[in-house]
Assembly symmetry: C2
Homo-oligomer: 117 residues x 2
DNA sequence: TTGAGTGTATGGCAACCATCGAACACTTAT
DNA sequence: ATAAGTGTTCGATGGTTGCCATACACTCAA
């Protein structure tokens, strides 16, 4: 593996990669949603403005390394898009695109009520 | 645990237990659907008559022990109901009940098209 | 330049899950 | 009684996953 030459101009963080929805399988989409932490993330980002929430602004009981992993899974499933702004990474739900790929799935998940205890 | 007394009349196999839909969590439902073998089972049982397909009649690339496990997961997720008839165990999709618990979810999953290769 | 803030990458670990072979239980037919 | 067919349970195994701590990379402000 070649070594990067020192950058003459200040390097920028490599922007996150996003999945093409056409290549997301149903199984991957369901697996991404079948996790309590990721479900919380999706619900919160769904109920916020686009690009409003940065990755660290979510109240989930995991450390930031695990959180970063969960966001990578959500990106790979085509569920969220991320954009860097300064030191933070902001999120939006890819609702229209995901709906086009899996019609009704995201709505059904977001509408589902949890059981009363 | 008490020992069963010898049965005077011929004993019957204990019928399968089915989940109460109210107690099925969204996470459990999604996890049950996020497996290729189980997805195949659900699709095939959905496109057949009720009580038409016995457990062994599905064309999935696993042995019967794993198959039995997958059916247990689908039962626990409230997705299928099973009934014994002779030596076989027949299946039906609990479509109406599952729809009432998670409106639109099963339809979205069954409507989802797989990616063309 | 230094430091604080934010997020990612890596390595390790524990828990979970899908699978199998084997043994078992039950039903039906011979 | 025997045998064939169907399905479950058990124990073991290998792979995956979720998590953490640590180290690193980048941005911005002081």
């Amino acid at each position: 593996m070649p070594i990067d030459p020192p950058a003459a101009t200040p390097r920028h963080r490599t922007p996150p990669e996003h999945a093409a929805l056409a290549e997301v399988t149903l199984e991957a989409a369901l697996a991404a949603l079948a996790d309590p932490v990721r479900l919380t993330l999706i619900r919160e980002v769904a109920s916020a403005q686009e690009w409003e929430r940065s990755c660290g602004s979510f109240d989930v009981p995991v450390r930031k390394a695990a959180l970063s992993h969960h966001f990578a899974v959500l990106r790979a499933a085509g569920l969220i898009e991320q954009r860097d702004a300064g030191p933070r990474r902001f999120n939006r739900l890819r609702r229209a695109e995901f709906d086009a790929r899996f019609p009704g799935l995201l709505d059904a998940v977001l509408r589902a009520q949890d059981v009363e205890v």
